[in-house]
Amino acid sequence: MSLLDSSFWEVFLASLSPEIWKDLWGPIGETLYMTAISSVIMLVFGIVIGILLDITNPNGLIPLKLSYTLSGWMINCLRSLPQMIMIILMIPVARLIFGKSYGTNACIIAIAASCIPMYARIVESSLLEIDKGKIEAAQAMGSKNISIIFKVLLPETLPSLIRGFTVSVITVLSMTALAGMFGAGGIGDIAVRYGYQRFQHDRLFACVYILIVLVQLIQGIGNLVSKRILKTRNLV
């Protein structure tokens, strides 16, 4: 049903019909799969790169000016690419790894490549927020750098890391919708194929509901977890 020949109300009612939704469970699964895998990859690499950025910072635990400047510059380069261009750029890489340049797995590479630098920066800024006195106290007690990172730096900034991760997962989700245009499947694919190319606005509406619910869920869980932690620490 299209807004071109039906009223908004009719399209809205149609968008709730089981007929439309029965075709959506598959794409929802694909979107969740892409978001989950990409988020995990982003989490692991983002944390590692974020830690490296934080400690090689001129005021960090192991100041390495050259490496800090170079990695900062590389991250800025990657971040200056719009997500769509990143997807196109990653087509040959995906072909190299998976043997085909389209599909859900192929797009995960592009999503990770685009979101890791972003999350690394967010991790870095979370880690920089730590009260320097805590690091100094740990040093004064004779901590090795590795214990400072894992016993002080990460646990102390955990609520902020979680909030940053929440924001990033939502970015990943929105990028999966974009990746739908390039054969990744998922909600974005439905929205483009039916909503845009065939004017089936009822299906487009359904996609919008799904995305709204997913974003609310992700943000809600993130807020809940980080608030819970702050509460145990008596910081709120």
């Binding site: 740990a138 007690m141 214990s147 646990p155 102390e156 620490r233 008596n234 910081l235």
Partner: protein
């Protein structure tokens, strides 16, 4: 008694905005074993830098620091870490770890020096009792008052049974009653375990209450040092004079009557 901490001709220059700023300009200092030695000075006199040079949080440019038989400035990285296990530090802002409970905070220095779990438990409980925190072991620092936080700070500093503690403005963020309690605790620790304490502060009363000897730090130099009473009664430096004046002022009848000066 022989000197335990010996500092000779210590220099440190910072370069904020490219301009040299001499923070420590030839410090000579001797602290005897088992005493509480006070260092007083105004903000910017170099007190904290001096404290941080002693455990090498800051690297001094030149001079020597000897603690017992150890030449602090020539220690290798590994030796420095081991040496730091043997010296405690207490901070103005407590610098406790919010992610850990009080128990975990006190246990942390033992954990990183590889003490077995069973012994950690025993030592933490002992120390918590000494500083009066047995009831609060499961709480997080966020739930504690300033005085309680500093007790955790002190417990954390003494749990490794160090010979030497640096107290960097430990009571400056606390109200007067709490300050006295914390100073009493420091005195108790000093007497009970014979721990040498270097007390850095800008608070006169804290020094008068706790220390037998003191030094006045002014513009990166020790301008005078000796017994606390002598310095208060017969100051020879600008800072010393000022402090003595302030001290007299607070005791003057006009002030105590509340009529202004």
């Amino acid at each position: 008694m022989s000197a335990y901490l010996k500092i000779k001709d210590l220099h440190k220059t910072f370069y904020p905005h490219g301009q040299p700023l001499k923070v420590l300009d030839g410090i000579d200092l001797e602290v005897e074993k088992g005493e509480i030695f006070g260092i007083i000075g105004f903000s910017g006199a170099g007190k904290s830098t001096l404290a941080r040079c002693i455990n090498r949080l800051e690297k001094a440019d030149s001079g020597t620091i000897e603690l017992g038989d150890t030449d602090i400035l020539s220690l290798s990285k590994d030796q420095l870490l081991k040496q730091r296990h043997k010296m405690g530090m207490i901070f103005q802002n407590f610098n406790l770890f919010d992610s850990m409970t009080v128990y975990q905070n006190i246990a942390y220095p033992l954990e990183i020096s590889g003490v077995p779990r069973k012994e950690i438990k025993q030592r933490v409980l002992e120390t918590a009792e000494l500083v009066g925190l047995t009831e609060k072991l499961k709480a997080h620092p966020g739930a504690l008052s300033g005085g309680q936080k500093q007790r955790v700070g002190i417990a954390r500093a003494i749990v490794t049974k160090p010979d030497f503690i640096i107290s960097d403005e430990a009571t400056s963020a606390l109200d007067p009653q709490t300050t006295i309690q914390i100073l009493d605790l420091l005195k108790e620790i000093n007497e009970k375990y014979k721990i040498t304490i270097l007390m850095i502060t800008h608070e006169l009363d804290a020094i008068r209450y706790t220390c037998s000897r003191m030094a006045v730090l002014e513009g990166g130099k020790i301008t005078e040092s000796g017994h606390v009473r002598d310095i208060f009664e017969n100051p020879h430096s600008k800072t010393g004079e000022l402090f003595a004046k302030v001290f007299m002022l607070f005791q003057s009848p006009e002030f105590t009557k509340g009529e202004g000066i």
